[in-house]
């Protein structure tokens, strides 16, 4: 058979191979198990989603959301159509909220971080014991509770707790001082002094809807949107007119529009032509204008002046001093440098993101034993430098 296989042999080999393959394929298979709940949740029907109405907390706006869950796990978050803030819409931060909920790096319990060692998981009772001992040991006035800007019962709870342990409360909330209840949907003229209300300022989902109302054609006309600022972010790119005064002089424009400053002086300070400022003032008065701001300027030295100017333009009095600005936390940093802070509790704030604090941390840690408790779920910059979490 040196010149090849005979046909019969080929067919026989084919038959045997086929039988072999059939044997391998036709197996009993694995036994599958059905694992029931021990105590089932009453809300869960397998394969059928359960919906919850809730509130998004990714920013202070607090949009109402509908959360879809399958078998107790959140799968999707959408705006709640009945909610007056979100009106069924939701921004990118809210949409990504489930990602944070199930982030693989999230903290699942307390852990301690000590100098030179890797983080060690501890039980809740041990962690609370360590914290209580440090607070008790600390001299009076050296315990600080650094939090975000809370409202309602949470605010009261935090204040009560801080008071009961003799701690001082410092509020740091860069987003917090923005108004979330501005109504400009019916305005014909909108002017924003650096407030990016389509992105992160105030209540972006609500403001984007309001903008769509005032900027759409109604009865042959549509509202005008003017952006005042040194550069145009996404919000500024939607403007019909861009005014770029010398950076830091925006308050002069607002004052000139409301009659608090002479137009010529404002023109000279800002570098914007007097005629342009006059026209802005005219259009603002004629169009039931609304002014928004300050946006980015909140961190700047002229924030107060701009805030006052915007309020005056809107016909409101002087604003209450905004909690959560940079001043309080910078003061805290100075106190930490001076060694006046022994225990620092942190909840809902991430001061390690401040470049000032960043430089401070590495100097401080070896000299001053600062205990920081972070309430965040995720490893922010602050937790990286913590002694106790």
């Amino acid at each position: 058979m040196s010149d090849g296989m005979k046909r019969r042999d080929f067919l026989k080999v084919l038959g045997v191979s086929g039988a072999g393959v059939a044997t391998a394929g036709c197996s009993t298979g694995e036994v599958e198990k059905l694992i029931p709940y021990v105590v089932p949740s009453e809300d869960i029907v397998p394969g059928v989603p359960t919906w919850y109405a809730s509130t998004c907390r990714e920013c202070p706006a607090g949009c109402g959301i509908m959360v879809e869950t399958h078998s107790g796990r959140v799968t999707k978050v959408e705006g709640n159509a009945d909610n007056p803030i979100s009106r069924g819409n939701l921004c990118a931060r809210g949409q990504s909220a489930p990602q944070g909920l199930y982030h693989p790096d999230r903290h699942r319990g307390p852990f301690t971080v000590e100098e030179g060692l890797s983080p060690r998981n501890v039980s809740w009772s041990v962690a609370e014991g360590i914290l209580a001992e440090r607070i008790r040991r600390a001299p009076a006035g050296s315990v600080v509770f650094l939090t975000g800007n809370y409202g309602g019962t949470m605010d009261r709870l935090v204040n009560t707790f801080a008071g009961s342990i003799g701690a001082r409360r410092v509020v740091y909330d860069p987003f917090g001082a923005t108004p979330r209840d501005v109504d400009f949907a019916g305005a014909d003229f909108l002017i924003s002094f650096g407030a990016d209300f389509l992105e992160t300022w105030g209540s972006p989902v609500d403001y984007a809807w309001q903008f769509s109302q005032m900027h759409a054609y109604r009865g042959g006309r549509r509202g005008k949107f003017v952006w005042v600022g040194p550069h145009r972010p996404l919000t500024g790119l939607n403007a019909d007119q861009w005014i770029a005064p010398k950076p830091g002089t925006e308050a002069a424009i607002a004052l000139a529009m409301s009659g608090g400053m002479d137009v010529a002086t404002a023109a000279q300070q800002t570098g914007v032509e007097a005629a342009v400022i006059e026209q802005l003032a005219r259009e603002f008065r004629a169009g039931r204008g609304v002014a928004l701001g300050p946006g980015y300027a909140t961190s700047g030295a002229n924030a107060g002046a701009l805030q006052a100017a915007v309020n005056r333009l809107n016909g409101r009095g002087a604003p209450a001093p905004a909690a959560g600005g940079m001043r309080d936390v910078l003061q805290l940093v100075e106190q930490m440098r001076a060694g006046q802070v022994q225990v620092l509790l942190v909840d809902g704030a991430d001061p390690a993101r401040l470049p000032v604090q960043q430089a401070n941390t590495s100097e401080d840690s070896p000299r001053v034993a600062v205990t920081r408790r972070s309430g965040s779920r995720l490893p922010f910059g602050t937790t990286a430098s913590c002694l106790v979490t």
Partner: protein, 224 residues
């Protein structure tokens, strides 16, 4: 060489045939607890959906939780901690099988551990079967699952093969009179054909091939 091959072929074919799992056995597989449907569904006449609660709501009929079993078998289980669980009626008059198996249940509850039941009815992943559609259209559980109320050990009564499903969908598998009436009334397919016919569409092709068709035999209905 040919004789070797022939011999090997016959041996392999025999082995292959022997390993093929028959779809219907006289006795089902052993379960972690010897649960008798004949006692619960038969003698005690418990409705199927008392335990298999999501049969009319979900694609999955649902296996009862340990809490459900213990609701009858361990008095006070809703309020007492599981460590204190005791079997109801553990009198000596009960036969030892009952006592032994029920004690296993109580042990699972004490440990707060799920009972790992052996699955009887399973379809491959490429075929989807929604329970709730079939339950809500008016079919009896026993039509597909057999006389479960007489089974001590559950076994697979029907082949669950595609041909078997198609036979019923095409109306070629006999159903009881009550079921047939319910299916005719509730079936979306029957309603659709009737609507099409009444609005003047030509449904002769559908009616000629399988005049008693009860449900769609479109591929995508089960394979998606």
């Amino acid at each position: 060489m040919t004789r070797v091959l022939k011999f090997a072929g016959i041996v392999l074919l025999t082995l292959g045939a022997a390993t093929c799992r028959p779809y219907s056995t006289d006795e089902g597989p052993d379960q972690p607890i010897a649960f008798y449907h004949s006692v619960h569904a038969g003698q005690n006449q418990m409705p199927c959906m008392y335990c298999h609660t999501s049969a009319d709501k979900s694609v999955d009929a649902g296996i009862p939780s340990v809490q459900l079993c213990v609701g009858c078998h361990v008095p006070g289980s809703a309020v007492q901690p599981p460590e204190n669980a005791q079997l109801a009626f553990p009198t000596a008059a009960r036969d030892s099988v009952w006592n032994r198996e029920a004690t296993k249940l109580v042990d699972y509850w004490k440990r707060q551990e799920s009972i790992p039941w052996v699955r009887i009815h399973d379809l491959p992943d490429h075929a989807k079967f929604p329970h709730y559609v079939h339950v809500n259209v008016g079919l009896q559980c026993q039509t597909c699952h057999g006389p479960v109320q007489e089974m001590q050990k559950v076994y697979q009564f029907s082949s669950l093969r595609m041909g078997w499903c198609i036979d019923c969908h095409r109306g070629e598998m006999p159903l009881s009179a009550a079921e047939e009436a319910a299916v005719r009334k509730n079936s979306g397919y029957v309603r659709k054909i009737a609507t099409l016919a009444s609005t003047g569409n030509d449904v002769r092709a559908a009616q000629k091939a399988y005049p008693d068709q009860r449900a769609s035999t479109d591929c995508v209905v089960c394979h998606y």
